[in-house]
């Protein structure tokens, strides 16, 4: 009993021991936070990686593609009704993206995915990641215009508000200012002229905005960044989406410091338009209806600000603006009516130039539905890649997709499956002479969704204790099993005389998304392991600290040790006091560290934002990541491991001092000075 009694009494009364407790708590805190953030990261990546693909992916192992995909899908569904929920073909190829609304020189390579909507949304989380159609069950490449308008309006209004925050964004100003400095002097002069030609009302309005800026921002801008002010004015000048879209494009162009000449030309007509809108806004302000563009206000109340009937007004406005900002290459920035449904695209939310993210994670869009893009690609589906095969076509952006995997979102454009199949030369080829199908239609991949009930049942079965202890064999992973089944079905189809000719020279491979994304997820998991190991090594400092503190305590308590032994305490008993003391130090440190870490992780984003606001110090640069928030996931088993580790650290740190204490001769201990 005396061991327990003295252990806790020392713990209560020795301040040095609390230093050890704090050291352990800090290490535990550090581990909890780092592991939780890394787990959150891995989890987010895993979810996102799965979001891009279906549970199981079938492909033909070549760019040539896989024939008879609809037949294969039908066969999969027929043979595996309990395991497979749905399946959909998917084409993946590569091409060149041009965004003429930025500038004629804006080009980038992208991967182009052909998907069937809404079928593809039943296979993956793709539908939930759509900006404008995320809230409807059946997203398509031809959404109801009304729905689209409402969402665009909401987005843009939000963007306008965000633009005000952007105006206070020091980083953005730095970039713009640098851009301004890099401009050739004649162009700067032209901008100054443009700035000088603003109407008095515009100047007044701008002045109001100007006065609201913090003094240091005004200093930074004064007399130099007319481009910034102009762009800012573009945003602040109008809450009307019909005007904001092209103005935003102008802003984008200004932001990217491209084609300044063109910007100037385009800017002129907008000034008149803005003046008119100013008048309307002032009128609306006087009527008390100006501030919020009335959401869902489709009744067309004729207040001069909101649309008459949305569709008509948008058509009218866009057509006018198209004329005003006409380009010699394309019909204009915003094409209306949009390209036909087969010529629509969904762009990844993260394509360079389409959006940028402020330091606080706000997404500022530079393009959206209504903008046209041009895609150029080599039709890899063509058997023989000779001659001038380049395919080039215009598509209207209809939505944007977010998978949260930056390499996907920054690099992918989605087109209707049949469209991409056709331009990628993967459609059916008819023999001119016989009129029969010489080559069946093909797809790059088939994405398969495994029934969640089947996957969960398999997971439950494998998580039973008997399986974990190795007493019962582990069942095959649900996805791997379905992949094997599909592989079998695929091979049966391939060997079927009816399809054998079409499959000639085509391999078939079915594998789970985990297998596909092994490299991506595996790398993050390796990083997580590395971080955990690094922090665990750093945490070993706590063991050394506990050792030093306990060694000091043992020296201080030498006489006590002599007394305890003279009272009949054994060497083991004395050792247990200090080991228990160390273990308790680890336990209390673990509890404090876990509680602190848990709370920190829970509020990590708020804390990060507060630190950023107060000290201007941002650890998590949201411009680099596609996650709005720092991901964090507290896992109970990790916490338990950390707590056990902390207790072991306490025991290890106190082990040598405990041995020293136990070996003390009572006579020497009593005489110790």
């Amino acid at each position: 009993m005396y061991k327990l009694f003295l252990c806790f009494r020392y713990l209560r009364r020795r301040f040095a021991a609390w230093a050890a407790v704090i050291a352990v708590a800090l290490c535990v805190f550090m581990l909890v936070v780092s592991i939780s953030v890394m787990d959150g990261f891995v989890s987010k990546i895993e979810v996102a990686a799965k979001g891009l693909y279906g549970d199981v992916v079938v492909d033909g192992k070549s760019l040539d593609g896989l024939p008879y995909y609809d037949e294969l899908i039908a066969e999969i569904k027929r043979q595996l009704p309990d395991k497979v929920e749905d399946a959909s073909p998917f084409i993946l190829t590569y091409g060149l993206l041009e965004a003429p609304f930025f500038s004629a020189n804006s080009r980038q390579t992208v991967q182009i995915a052909g998907i069937r909507l809404p079928e593809h949304t039943r296979i993956s989380a793709f539908g939930q990641g759509l900006t404008y159609q995320g809230d409807i069950d059946q997203p398509t490449f031809d959404p109801p215009l009304e729905h689209l308008l409402e969402n665009i309006r909401r987005q843009i209004h939000q963007t306008d508000r965000l633009a005000r925050d952007v105006a206070r964004d020091k980083g953005l100003y730095d970039r713009l200012e640098n851009a301004w400095k890099q401009l050739p002097p004649p162009q700067r002069d032209r901008f100054e002229d443009a700035w000088g030609s603003l109407s008095p009302e515009q100047n007044d309005r701008l002045g109001t905005v100007w006065r609201k800026q913090p003094p240091e921002q005004r200093d930074r801008l004064e007399g130099r960044s007319a481009i910034v002010i102009y762009a800012l004015f573009s945003y602040l000048g109008s809450p009307d989406p019909n005007v904001t879209i092209p103005l935003r494009n102008l802003y984008t162009a200004a932001f990217q410091q491209r084609d300044m000449e063109e910007i100037l030309v385009r800017a002129k007509p907008y000034q008149a338009q803005m003046a008119e809108l100013e008048r309307q806004i002032n009128q609306a302000i006087a009527d008390g209806t100006a501030d919020e563009p009335a959401e869902g206000d489709a009744s067309g109340n004729d207040d001069g600000l909101t649309v008459k009937t949305k569709e008509d007004a948008l058509r009218e406005q866009l057509n006018r603006l198209t004329e005003m900002a006409g380009s010699d290459r394309y019909a204009g920035d915003v094409s209306f009516p949009f390209q036909p449904p087969g010529r629509r695209a969904i762009v990844g939310l993260g394509l360079p130039g389409f959006i940028f993210r402020t330091e606080d994670g706000t997404v500022v869009r530079m393009a959206g539905p209504g903008n046209d893009i041009v895609l150029t690609l080599i039709p890899f589906g063509e058997k023989s890649l000779t001659g001038n095969l380049l395919v080039r076509d215009v598509f209207t952006i209809i939505d944007e997709s977010r998978t949260d995997v930056s390499t996907v979102d920054a690099n992918t454009v989605y087109l209707p499956f049949e469209t991409l199949q056709k331009i990628n030369k993967m459609g059916p080829q008819i023999d001119d002479e016989t009129g029969r199908i010489a080559r069946p239609a093909r797809t790059s991949q088939i994405h398969v969704k495994v029934r969640p009930a089947f996957a969960q049942a398999r997971e439950r079965a494998n998580s039973r204790l008997a399986v974990r202890l190795g007493m019962e064999p582990r069942l095959r992973d649900a996805l791997d099993e379905v992949a094997a089944d599909i592989q079998r079905i695929g091979m049966e189809l391939r060997n079927d005389p009816r399809y054998a000719a079409g499959f000639a020279g085509t391999e078939l491979r079915a594998s789970s998304w985990r297998e596909r994304q092994r490299f991506l997820v595996g790398q993050i998991q390796s990083q997580r392991t590395l971080v955990v190991i690094m922090f665990a090594v750093i945490s070993s400092v706590a063991v050394v600290l506990i050792f030093v503190i306990f060694y000091m305590i043992v020296l201080q308590k030498t006489k006590d040790i002599g007394v305890i032994k003279s009272l009949g305490g054994s060497s083991m008993g004395v050792a247990s006091i200090f080991l228990g003391y160390g273990g308790a130090t680890g336990l209390i440190g673990a509890v404090l560290g876990i509680l602190g870490g848990w709370q920190f992780v829970k509020h990590i984003n708020a804390i990060h934002d507060w630190v950023g606001r107060t000290y201007g110090f941002h650890v998590w640069n949201r411009e680099w990541f596609m996650f709005d928030e720092i991901p964090a996931q507290v896992d109970a088993s990790s916490l338990l491991s950390i707590a056990v580790g902390a207790i072991i650290a306490g025991l290890l740190g106190s082990l040598i001092p405990a041995i020293i204490a136990s070996h003390m001769q009572p006579v020497r201990a009593l005489r110790y000075e």
Partner: protein
């Protein structure tokens, strides 16, 4: 009572002997220097006797007391406590004997500063109990400690910390701690050495009273001849040997 000085006793220990020491040798090694402290001490103390050991500083009094109290082991010689030869005791038996049969009172009290008066006394009882055993008897043991402290005039000081007590009070707490397990032998190493003469006398009275009322065998080391005179017998140690 028979003292055999510097000579080996071959006769078996008398049955009424509480402590029998035969030809005890102890040498301390301090680096390259060897320091013989006891050079063949033999003695026998009857149960219930109050024996004082006097001698100059360094004569080996405390060392002899520590050896008898099983806090140290002799280089040569035998110690028999309550008819049990110390050399034959296992480590566990030595711990148990120190806990149950021997009580120590030190010159510098050696109270644990983190514990209050009652806890310091109860600690000695705790050592003899397992956790469950102590929890079962906790109330009873604490009551016993409180009664003992009350008898020693510390009834109102139970929750005081050692630093809040005077030297005499601290020593009385140390005596209470030594007596809580009702040991057969009480070993007191200069119990009055750190106290003024008046307080020292009071402590001595406590020891004498204990000896009288409880029949405890007491071996007291002192360098003060007037204190030693209060004992039933006085042993003189000189350069590691007992002298008449």
């Amino acid at each position: 009572m028979r003292f055999t000085i510097g000579k080996k006793i071959n006769n078996p220990a008398p049955t009424n002997a509480a402590v029998v020491v035969r030809d005890l040798h102890k040498t301390y090694h301090l680096g390259k220097t060897t320091l013989p402290v006891l050079r063949g001490v033999s003695l026998s103390v009857r149960k219930g006797q109050f024996v004082a050991m006097v001698g100059a500083s360094g004569s080996g009094k405390s060392t002899l007391l520590h050896l008898i109290g099983l806090l140290d082991k002799p280089d040569e010689g035998e110690i028999t406590l309550d008819s049990r030869a110390a050399a034959t005791l296992s480590s566990g038996q030595r711990h148990r004997m120190r806990c149950r049969d021997i009580g120590f009172v030190f010159q510098f009290y050696h109270l644990l500063s983190e514990l209050n008066v009652l806890e310091n006394v109860a600690l000695a009882a705790m050592v003899d109990h397992s956790t469950l055993g102590w929890l079962a008897q906790r109330g009873q043991q604490r009551k016993r400690a409180a009664t003992l402290l009350d008898r020693l005039g510390l009834g109102g000081r139970l929750s005081h910390k050692p630093k809040e007590l005077s030297g005499g009070e601290r020593q009385r707490v140390a005596i209470a701690r030594a007596l809580i397990n009702q040991p057969k032998i009480l070993l007191a190493d200069e119990p009055t050495g750190n106290l003024d003469s008046n307080t020292g006398r009071q402590i001595l009275d406590v020891l004498r009273k204990t000896n009288r009322e409880l029949g405890q065998t007491i071996l007291m080391v002192t360098h003060d001849a007037t204190i030693a005179e209060q004992a039933d017998h006085v042993l003189h140690l000189l350069d590691g040997r007992l002298v008449e």
